[in-house]
Subunit: 154 residues, 2 copies
DNA sequence: TAATTTGGTTTCTTAAAGCAACCTTATTAA
DNA sequence: TTAATAAGGTTGCTTTAAGAAACCAAATTA
């Protein structure tokens, strides 16, 4: 693969993708949000090779997305739990799932049915909103000069 | 790499990641949202190898995220423009950028400063919201049985 | 005490990423 | 009018990561 790293990129999306932008990491986070915590459970649910899972869990822990908790008192039993940073990926994951449900629905699979625990009502589509809460499309926004990526500035 | 494909996965996040979940695709979409349309511009802005860029653009076109437009009348000049499906990734990209700005801010780089074109006011944080528009954390929601991923059902 | 589970590590193979060179068709410059 | 450059690729080679399978040690369970 010889992947390019983006650790030092001036773009925060690139840096974010460096942490969770590979094939597995975001799926691991997703399953962690579904409630998975144990190594073997991730392995079975995702169908991921153990060495890759090791690597990804370690990387996610290093990046502060998960933390490794020693359970079972004297070693050899661990749980991987989302940190606040990891839980903060909630809108990203849900937005991605809603996009997938909309544009590549599985014929036999129901779309995301995420509900407010308090009221039982389904959640809204994740959207970019203006200060008044109105949804904005990409055509409705602009970015001041200083927010554009490097190469576009000169 | 020998990557596992998720085309047939029952999880729409996995299928979404199959289309835009690699290292480059989402960055290409991001730059397309910033206004980039030409092959050479993507190449220079992203610092991506030409063959990889070719492959990714072609894949994004195949998947209906971009469309290739013939400009310059008689061939050899093209533009890659976002489709509606591509533009629909707006909340995903913005949520990811906001996450990156929050958790891995670049010391010298300003955070995302995206503004409503109509009012000039900054956009809100992208969040999952209940039916009344109130932000929900992952702890505030639940998923009915039929929305859980395969492996958790049995 | 033996078998199994958990959470790994090691080795090997395969395939993708990245680099550089090359190529064709237009356009621009001399 | 010819030469140089730009756009948009393609090809071939090298490096490196992904994936499969085997192996392993500590702890738990039978």
């Amino acid at each position: 693969m010889a992947r390019k790293r983006f650790d030092d990129s001036s773009c925060s999306v690139a840096r974010a993708l460096n942490e969770v932008g590979d094939w597995w990491s975001l799926l691991i986070v997703l399953h962690a949000m579904y409630g998975t915590r144990r190594f073997v459970d991730f392995q079975q649910e995702l169908g991921i090779a153990k060495n890759i899972l090791c690597d990804r869990l370690g990387r996610l822990v290093d990046n502060g997305v998960l933390r490794k908790v020693d359970v079972g008192e004297h070693g050899s039993r661990f749980e991987y739990r989302l940190t606040e940073k990891g839980r903060d990926l909630f809108p990203v994951v849900i937005a991605l799932r809603q996009w997938g449900d909309k544009w590549n629905p599985a014929p036999e699979q129901p779309a995301l049915n995420l509900r407010d625990r308090a009221t039982g009502r389904p959640v809204q589509m994740v959207q970019v909103r203006d200060a008044d809460g109105q949804p904005l499309s990409i055509r409705d926004v602009f970015m001041p000069e200083d927010s554009l990526p490097e190469a576009k500035k000169g």
